[in-house]
C-alpha cells in the first residue's frame, strides 16, 4: 500500500508532509516531497486529498492484488472527485458530494 509522488508536478507546499499520520513524507534539498518509507504507508489517502497540484497518486501493492491503477482526488466545492487511472489510460471518475451521506 503506498503512494507515488510526481516530483515534476510537486510545488513544494509541504501540505502532504504536514498531514501524513505516519510522518512518512519528507522533502528533498529542492523542497520537493518524497515518501521516505513507502512500506509504512497505511493507505489513508490523506496526502492525496491535500495536494493542490495533483502530484500524488495512490496505488495498491501487487502483494494485495494491485493491477497498476493510480488514484488521485480533485476537489470542487462540495464535490470530492476520485480519479482512478487504469494502466491502459482509461480513467474512471467517481464524484462524491460531501454534503450527502452514505446510504447503507
Amino acid at each position: 500500500m503506498s503512494i507515488v509522488i510526481d516530483k515534476s508536478k510537486c510545488i513544494g507546499c509541504k501540505k502532504c508532509r504536514n498531514v501524513c499520520p505516519g510522518s512518512l513524507i519528507k522533502t528533498d534539498e529542492n523542497g520537493k516531497a518524497y515518501i521516505k518509507y513507502p512500506k509504512d504507508c497505511w493507505g489513508c489517502t490523506s496526502c492525496i486529498k491535500e495536494c493542490p497540484a495533483y502530484a500524488i497518486s495512490f496505488f495498491l501493492g501487487s502483494d494485495i492484488g494491485g493491477m497498476g491503477s493510480k488514484v488521485h482526488t480533485e476537489k470542487n466545492g462540495d464535490i470530492l472527485s476520485w480519479l482512478i487511472e487504469k494502466p491502459q489510460g482509461e480513467v474512471i471518475k467517481i464524484d462524491i458530494n460531501q454534503k450527502e451521506s452514505n446510504k447503507y
Binding site: I96, S101, K103
Partner: protein, 560 residues
C-alpha cells in the same frame, strides 16, 4: 540535544478521537490550559484518518442506554464493566449531536430524523470527520497543539503523575512537560503480530499501524493496573484491502458464505469473535475461501458502496474498479486480521473508574487505551474523552499543590534518548527486531499462523523470546529523531506483548473463540473465570490480579 520545558494544566497525550474531544470539553467547561501532544498531525491522525461511514454506537429511538450495555456485555460474554458502558452509553447521543453541529453530515429522513441502520447505527459521510474535529480544536480557547511530538514516558513519583517526556521527531527538541493532570488517549496497539500481508503492504492493516500501544506501555511501566489484555481483537475484513465489512454485512445485508455457497454464520453464532471463528473453521475444514454474499445486489447499492468505501477505506473501491466487476457481480472474500489490542472494540486497557481515572493519581484515560468498555467506536471514544476531560478539571480543582518534575528524572530520560542517537554498535536494525517480534507472536502467541490458537507451552516460548528481543533493543541506533521514535515504538510493543502473553496465560479457559483460544483449556469456565484478569507490574514482574465482575447497578471505585 536542545531541551525545552513546558508547563500546562492538562496534558493530553494523543490528538485522535478521544484526545481532541477531551480538549474541546475542557476548553468549554473551564479556564484550564490544555496541551495536546500528537506524534503526527491532529488533522488526520488516529483511527479516523481515512474517514468512517457510520456511527456504530448510538441509542436509536425507543432504545435505552442500558440496551447498549446489554449488547456489549453479550458480545464479550460477560467480561465488561457495566458501570463504564452505562456512563459511556448515556453520552452517545449528546456527542453525536455535537458532531453534527461541528459539521458532520448524518443521513436524515424527510422529517429531519436520523436514518438508522439497525438498533445502534447512523449513516454518515465521515470522510472529513477528523479534519472537522481538528478544526474545532484549533479554534478552542486555551488549547495548544504540539504536532510531531512523540511522548515516550510519564514522570511518575509515589504513584502520582507530574507530566511526561517526549521529543520532536522533526524539531529534534527534547521536551519535559509538567502537567497538573494528564489524559492518555494514544489508542490501542497494532503491529504486535505478523500482519496479513507482511511484505510491501505490511501496513495495509485495519487498525492504524501508527498506534503502537504507547499508552498501554507507559502505564504498564509506571505500575498502573491494566485489564483484559487477553481479549484480543481480531477483525473480520475484506481480503487484501483489510477494509471493514459492516457496510456490506449490515448496510446491504450480505451474509457470510463459504465456497459451497452455504451461509455459515448462523452455525457458529453472531458475536464478533464467533464470526471470526466460523470463518477460520470453514477454511480449516476445506470449505474456504469465505465471502460476504454481495452478488445480486442492486445497481444503486453498487454505486453507493463504491462511494461509501472511498469515504473510509478507498483501497476496497479501487480493488472493485481494478477487477472490472462491482460487488453485485462478485462476492467479497473475507479473512481475519492479525490480533490487535484495542479497548474501543474489546475490553483491553487501563483499569479505570467511572471518572476514567486510572490507578495512577492524576492520570485519566479515554478511547481505545481505556479498558473495561468495549464497542466504543467513534462516539464512545468521544464520550470517554468528555468524561476524562471533565474529571481532569475536577481533579485539578480539588488539589492545592502540584509537584514539579525533578532534574534527575529529566536527565535520566534525556540521557537514554541521547544514547540511542550516539552508540552505533548494534548488529540489528529496529525493523529487524520488529519483524522478529511479530514472528514470535504469530508462531507462539496465537497469530494468524496457528489460526489464533495457542497452548501454555507455546506461550512460555513466546515470553522467553520476547524477553530476549527486549535485551537486544538496548543497543539499537537511531540516525535521526524519526528512527528514535521507531525504537521507542518497538519497545512499547514489546512491553505490551509481555502483558498480552501473561494475560493469555492467566485466563485458563476459552471464553472467546479466536480472541483467546487456549487449547489447553478449550472450554469456558464460568466458575473460575467469569471474572476480570487484571495485571500490574511489581518489581519488574507482571502480577496477575483476578477481580470479580462489576455488574448491573454497581459502580466500581478505586480503593487504594
Amino acid at each position: 540535544m536542545k531541551t525545552e520545558k513546558i508547563s500546562t494544566d492538562v496534558l493530553i497525550i494523543g490528538g485522535g478521537t478521544a484526545g481532541c474531544y477531551a480538549a474541546l470539553t475542557i476548553s468549554e467547561n473551564s479556564d484550564k490550559k490544555v496541551l495536546i501532544c500528537e506524534k503526527a498531525h491532529i488533522k488526520r491522525s488516529g483511527c479516523l484518518a481515512a474517514g468512517v461511514n457510520a456511527l456504530n454506537a448510538y441509542i436509536v429511538e425507543g432504545r435505552k442506554p442500558q440496551d447498549y450495555v446489554d449488547y456489549a456485555k453479550k458480545d464479550a460474554d460477560g467480561i465488561v464493566r457495566e458501570d463504564l458502558l452505562l456512563t459511556m452509553s448515556e453520552k452517545l447521543n449528546e456527542v453525536t449531536d455535537r458532531l453534527e453541529k461541528l459539521g458532520l453530515v448524518i443521513l436524515k429522513d424527510e422529517n429531519g430524523k436520523y436514518v438508522t441502520r439497525g438498533n445502534r447505527n447512523l449513516k454518515i459521510n465521515g470522510e472529513n470527520i477528523k479534519p472537522i474535529l481538528a478544526d474545532a480544536v484549533e479554534k478552542a480557547k486555551n488549547v495548544t497543539v504540539l504536532n510531531r511530538i512523540n511522548i515516550f514516558d510519564y514522570s511518575v513519583k509515589d504513584n502520582k503523575i507530574n507530566g511526561a517526556f517526549g521529543f520532536g521527531i522533526e524539531s529534534g527538541i527534547f521536551y519535559t512537560i509538567e502537567a497538573k493532570a494528564v489524559i492518555i488517549a494514544t489508542g490501542g496497539a497494532a503491529g504486535l503480530y505478523k500482519p496479513n500481508n507482511p511484505g510491501f503492504s505490511r501496513h495495509k492493516m485495519w487498525y492504524p499501524p501508527f498506534n503502537t500501544g504507547a499508552g498501554y506501555a507507559m502505564g504498564i511501566r509506571a505500575g498502573a493496573e491494566m485489564t483484559t489484555f487477553e481479549m484480543r481483537f481480531i477483525a473480520l475484513r475484506c481480503k487484501d484491502t483489510i477494509a471493514p465489512t459492516g457496510t456490506l454485512a449490515q448496510g446491504v445485508g450480505a451474509k457470510q458464505i463459504n465456497s459451497l455457497g452455504e451461509v455459515y454464520e448462523t452455525k457458529y453464532g453472531l458475536t464478533t469473535s464467533e464470526r471470526v471463528y466460523g470463518t477460520v473453521n470453514e477454511n480449516q475444514e476445506g470449505r474456504g475461501p469465505c465471502y460476504l454474499r454481495t452478488e445480486g445486489i442492486t445497481a444503486e447499492q453498487d454505486e453507493s458502496l463504491l462511494k461509501a468505501y472511498l469515504n473510509m477505506a478507498p483501497s476496497q473501491t479501487i480493488k472493485w474498479i481494478e477487477s472490472g466487476r462491482n460487488p453485485s457481480q462478485q462476492n467479497v472474500e473475507i479473512e481475519g486480521t492479525e490480533p490487535y489490542i484495542v479497548g474501543g472494540h474489546t475490553a483491553s486497557g487501563y483499569w479505570v473508574d467511572t471518572d476514567r481515572a486510572t490507578t495512577i493519581d492524576g492520570l485519566f484515560a479515554g478511547g481505545d487505551v481505556a479498558g473495561g468498555c468495549p464497542q466504543k467506536y467513534v462516539t464512545g471514544a468521544l464520550a470517554e474523552g468528555e468524561i476524562a476531560g471533565l474529571s481532569a478539571v475536577k481533579y485539578i480543582d480539588s488539589k492545592e499543590s502540584f509537584e514539579k518534575i525533578s532534574d534527575e528524572d529529566t536527565n535520566s530520560h534525556l540521557k537514554e534518548t541521547e544514547k540511542y542517537l550516539t552508540d552505533r554498535h548494534s548488529l540489528y536494525t529496529t525493523e529487524q527486531l520488529e519483524e522478529a517480534m511479530q514472528t514470535v507472536m504469530d508462531s507462539y502467541a496465537g497469530g494468524i499462523k496457528t489460526n489464533y490458537r495457542f497452548n501454555e507451552k507455546q506461550l512460555d516460548i513466546a515470553d522467553y523470546k520476547i524477553r530476549q528481543l527486549e535485551t537486544l533493543t538496548d543497543d539499537l541506533y537511531a540516525e535521526d529523531f524519526q528512527e528514535l521514535m521507531y525504537i521507542y515504538e518497538l519497545k512499547e510493543r514489546l512491553t505490551v506483548c509481555k502483558s498480552v502473553i501473561a494475560h493469555l496465560r492467566a485466563r485458563k479457559e476459552t471464553r472467546w473463540h479466536s480472541f483467546a483460544e487456549n487449547l489447553d483449556y478449550p472450554e469456558k469456565d464460568d466458575k473460575n473465570f467469569n471474572k476480570y484478569v487484571n495485571s500490574r507490574l511489581e518489581n519488574g514482574e507482571i502480577k496477575i490480579i483476578i477481580r470479580d465482575l462489576v455488574t448491573g447497578g454497581e459502580k466500581y471505585e478505586h480503593s487504594n
